[in-house]
C-alpha cells in the first residue's frame, strides 16, 4: 500500500469541485436570463397595462336631423356648401333635444362638451357620401371628448378624483348609458388619423407611414451601399494601411452618437443640397449614415464565414473573382447580411435624436403620401405625446409604444423567416 495516489484517485478527488463550478456557472446563466425576462415582462406589463385602454373609445349615439336650413345648405350638389355647413349647430340642437331641461350658457356648454369638437367632420363625411340624408333624421355615433372618455374608462364611481368632469355631465352620461346610447368600441381613429391637439382625434397612422417611408429610404440606400463596401473590403481590397484605416473608421462610425448624424444631415443634406426638411427622404439619408457601419460590419463577418474551400472551388474551375462573389459568396452570406440589416433597421426605427435635428419633430396632421411629404416617425410621435399635458395622451403614448414594438417584432420575425429560408448548409 503506497501513499502515492493513483491517477484515477486524483481525478476523482477533483471531480466534486469541477461539478460544483459547472453548476454555479449554470445558475449564474439561469439567474441572468430570469432577470432579463423579468425586466422585459415588467416593461410589457407596464406598457400594456397603461396603453390597452387607448384601443377602445366611447361614442354617444344621437339622432341627428340634417336640417338644410340649420346647416345653411341651399344646393346639395354644391360640395363647397357641404364643406362649410354649420354641423356644430345641428349637433348642439340634437343634444339639447336629448336633454331639454338644460338651460343657461354654462350648463349648455358643458352639455356640448360631451362630444368631441371634431364631430362635425363625421357629419360632413356622411353628407358627402350620401347627399340624400339631407332633411332626414339618422342615428349617428359621435366620439366623446377625451375628458369624458377618460372619465368613462377610469373614474366611473370615483368622480371626485377627476376634476375635469362635472357633476351634471356624470348625470347625463348615466342617463345616456341607461338609454343604451353610450357605446364603447374599437378605436379606429387611433389607427387612421394623424396627430391632433385633441387626444380623441389624434392617431398614429401619420407617424406609422412616416416611419415606413423613412425605413424604405434607409433600406434602399444602406443595404446596397453597405454590401458593396463589405464585399469590396473583404474580397477585392488589398490589405494595407489604407484599408486598415478605413476599417478602424467604420468601427468608429458605429460608435458616433446619433445626434451628430442629425447635425451632419442638417448641415449637408438640408443646408447644402437643399433636400426638403421634415421629409422621410432626408430622414432616410441621415439614418442611412447611421446604419451603414452596422450593416457593413455584420456583412463583412458574414462574408468571412463563407468557407475558403468554396472560393477555391469556384476559382479552381475558372470563375472570375466577380463570379465567385456573385455566384457563391453572396448567396451564402446573404442570411448573415440580412440579420445585420434588420438589426440596423430596428436601430433606425427606434432612432429619435438625429430626426429632431432635421425637423421631423413637426406637428403632422396629414398622412404623408410620399417620401417628400412632411412627416414624423413613431418614436418622435411617442416623444411628442409624452410631452402633452392632456391626460388622455398618457394612454396614447403607451399605445404608440405598443405599435412601435409590434412593428419591431414583425420586422424581426420577417428577418428570421428570411434567414431560415435562405440558409444553406455546406
Amino acid at each position: 500500500m503506497s501513499e502515492v495516489k493513483s491517477t484515477i484517485e486524483k481525478v476523482n478527488a477533483g471531480l466534486g469541485k469541477r461539478y460544483r463550478s459547472e453548476k454555479m456557472f449554470q445558475w449564474f446563466g439561469i439567474i441572468s436570463i430570469c432577470f432579463g425576462l423579468l425586466c422585459v415582462l415588467a416593461l410589457f406589463f407596464d406598457i400594456i397595462g397603461k396603453g390597452h385602454s387607448a384601443f377602445k373609445h366611447h361614442s354617444i349615439e344621437i339622432p341627428i336631423m340634417f336640417d338644410a336650413d340649420k346647416l345653411g345648405i341651399t344646393d346639395i350638389n354644391d360640395t363647397k356648401q357641404i364643406y362649410s355647413a354649420n354641423y356644430d349647430g345641428v349637433i348642439k340642437a340634437s343634444l339639447r333635444e336629448l336633454f331639454p331641461n338644460v338651460s343657461g350658457r354654462t350648463e349648455k356648454r358643458k352639455l356640448y362638451k360631451l362630444v368631441s369638437n371634431g364631430s362635425y367632420l363625421t357629419l360632413q363625411k356622411m353628407l358627402l357620401e350620401d347627399p340624400s340624408l339631407l332633411n332626414q333624421t339618422t342615428e349617428v355615433q359621435l366620439i366623446t371628448d377625451d375628458d369624458i372618455d377618460t372619465y368613462l374608462k377610469h373614474f366611473v364611481g370615483k368622480e371626485s378624483e377627476f376634476e375635469r368632469i362635472h357633476a351634471e355631465q356624470v348625470e347625463w352620461l348615466a342617463t345616456l348609458r341607461e338609454e343604451g346610447r353610450l357605446i364603447s368600441h374599437f378605436n379606429t381613429v387611433f389607427f387612421q388619423a394623424g396627430d391632433s391637439r385633441e387626444p380623441e382625434q389624434a392617431g398614429i397612422f401619420a407617424a406609422l407611414m412616416g416611419s415606413f417611408y423613412t425605413l424604405i429610404v434607409t433600406l434602399c440606400l444602406s443595404f446596397p451601399i453597405a454590401v458593396a463596401a463589405a464585399v469590396y473590403l473583404e474580397e477585392f481590397a488589398p490589405k494595407n494601411k489604407w484599408t486598415d484605416l478605413i476599417e478602424v473608421n467604420i468601427n468608429n462610425l458605429a460608435a458616433v452618437p446619433s445626434i451628430i448624424f442629425g447635425l451632419l444631415g442638417l448641415a449637408i443634406f438640408i443646408s447644402f443640397f437643399g433636400v426638403p426638411r421634415s421629409t422621410p427622404l432626408v430622414g432616410g439619408f441621415v439614418l442611412t449614415l447611421m446604419t451603414l457601419p452596422t450593416i457593413i460590419i455584420s456583412s463583412r463577418a458574414a462574408i468571412k464565414s463563407v468557407p475558403p474551400s468554396i472560393r477555391e472551388a469556384a476559382l479552381g474551375i475558372g470563375a472570375s473573382r466577380m463570379q465567385m462573389v456573385t455566384h457563391h459568396v453572396l448567396p451564402l452570406s446573404l442570411p448573415g447580411m440580412l440579420t445585420g440589416t434588420i438589426i440596423g433597421m430596428a436601430q433606425a426605427l427606434g432612432e429619435t435624436a438625429p430626426l429632431l435635428m432635421i425637423g421631423m419633430i413637426a406637428f403632422i396632421v396629414d398622412i404623408p403620401g410620399s417620401v417628400t411629404d412632411p412627416a414624423t416617425v413613431l418614436p418622435v410621435q411617442i416623444f411628442l405625446w409624452s410631452d402633452s399635458p392632456e391626460r388622455a395622451f398618457t394612454e396614447k403614448t403607451s399605445a404608440a409604444i405598443m405599435v412601435l414594438l409590434a412593428f419591431l417584432i414583425a420586422m424581426n420575425a420577417f428577418a428570421i423567416y428570411m434567414r431560415k429560408r435562405l440558409e444553406k448548409r455546406w
Binding site: K239, P307, S309, I310, R311, E312, A313, A314, L315, G316, I317, G318, A319, S320, Q323, H327, H328, L332, K424, R425, W426
Partner: protein
C-alpha cells in the same frame, strides 16, 4: 549503407566525400546539406505539356520552393511525394496560379503550358484555370444541386449552347467520374448530401466538365476511406487516357499505384524525379530512399 553508396555512384553527385560522413548521413539526418542543385533522375522530357524552370515560391519573407525545374509530359500521371511541409502542394498550386489568391505569396521563375508562359499578360488567369483544372484535398462541392455543381463550369465558360447540350456535358462528366449510376436519379439533390468519396468524385466531375487539358489533384484521397480511395485511384487511371494529371499524395502506395512518374520533394527542393518504378525500387538519392523506406516523413 550499400544502397546509399550505389546512389552516390550512379548519380555521381558529390556529397560526403569521407566515409565517416556517409556513415552519418545514412542515419536520420534529413538536412538540406546534400540536396542536389538540379533534381536527380529525369526531371525533363521531350515535348512536355508543362515546363517549370527555376520556380521559386515565397510566403512573405519565407521561401517555400527553391529553384525547381520539372517537365510534365503529355497524358502522363505525375505524382509528387514528400514529407509534410515539403512544398509539394504549394508547387502544385503554382501550376494554375491558385497561389495568386494567397496574400503575400510570390512566385518566381518560368512556368509554361504548351510553350506559353502562364504569367503572360496576354493569358487570362480564368482561361488558364479552365485549361488546368484542380481537385482539392477536402471535397468542396458547392452547396447546390449535383446537377448545378457539374454544370457550373460549362455555364460560366459558355461551353453549352442549350439545355440539352448542358445535360449531355453533365451526364458524360458524371460518367467519366464514375458517379453517374449512383446519382442519376437524384441530380437535383444537394451535392453536399453525398458521402465523402462521392463528393470527391463529384468535384472531379466538376473539374472535367470544362474539359481541361491538365488536372491538378491536391491529396484527393486524404479525407477518404480505403474503398472510396480505391475508386478514385481507378478513376485516375481511366482519366489519364485523356488528361494530363499531376497528383500530390501523402501515400507512397498510392503514388506507386497510379502514377507514371514520381517526383520527390524535400524541404522545398525537388530532389529526385524518375519513372515511378525506378523511384520505388531503385531510388538514386539518399533522401528519396530514406523517405520511401519509411525512415522519416
Amino acid at each position: 549503407m550499400s544502397l546509399t553508396d550505389t546512389a552516390d555512384a550512379s548519380t555521381g553527385l558529390a556529397f560526403g566525400d569521407e566515409p565517416s560522413t556517409v556513415q552519418e548521413n545514412s542515419s536520420m539526418d534529413v538536412s538540406t546539406s546534400d540536396i542536389p542543385e538540379t533534381a536527380v533522375g529525369q526531371p525533363l522530357v521531350s515535348d512536355p505539356k508543362m515546363t517549370m524552370r527555376n520556380v521559386d515560391v515565397f510566403y512573405g519573407e519565407k521561401q517555400a520552393i527553391f529553384k525547381v525545374n520539372l517537365d510534365i509530359a503529355r497524358n502522363e500521371v505525375i505524382a509528387m511525394i514528400g514529407p509534410s511541409g515539403c512544398g509539394k502542394s504549394t508547387f502544385l498550386r503554382c501550376l494554375n496560379r491558385m497561389n495568386d489568391t494567397i496574400v503575400d505569396c510570390r512566385v518566381g521563375g518560368q512556368i509554361e503550358l504548351d510553350e506559353n508562359s502562364i504569367f503572360d499578360a496576354k493569358l487570362d488567369v480564368v482561361s488558364l484555370r479552365a485549361r488546368v483544372g484542380m481537385v482539392f484535398q477536402k471535397p468542396n462541392p458547392f452547396p447546390k444541386s449535383i446537377y448545378e455543381n457539374v454544370a457550373y463550369g460549362p455555364k460560366i465558360h459558355g461551353l453549352a449552347s442549350g439545355r440539352t447540350e448542358l445535360d449531355e456535358i453533365v451526364e458524360t462528366s458524371l460518367q467519366k467520374a464514375g458517379l453517374w449510376d449512383e446519382v442519376k436519379d437524384r441530380l437535383q439533390e444537394p451535392g453536399t448530401g453525398l458521402s465523402g468519396g462521392q463528393q470527391q468524385r463529384l468535384c472531379i466531375a466538376r473539374a472535367i466538365a470544362v474539359s481541361p487539358e491538365v488536372i491538378l489533384m491536391d491529396e484527393p484521397c486524404s479525407a477518404l476511406d480505403p474503398i472510396a480511395t480505391a475508386k478514385i485511384e481507378e478513376l485516375i487511371a481511366e482519366l489519364s487516357e485523356n488528361f494530363t494529371i499531376a497528383i500530390v499524395t501523402h501515400s507512397m502506395q498510392q503514388a506507386a499505384r497510379v502514377s507514371d512518374r514520381t517526383a520527390y520533394f524535400h524541404l522545398g527542393y525537388l530532389v529526385e524525379v524518375n519513372d515511378t518504378e525506378t523511384v520505388f525500387t531503385n531510388p538514386s538519392h539518399r533522401l528519396t530512399e530514406a523517405y520511401i523506406t519509411g525512415r522519416f516523413g
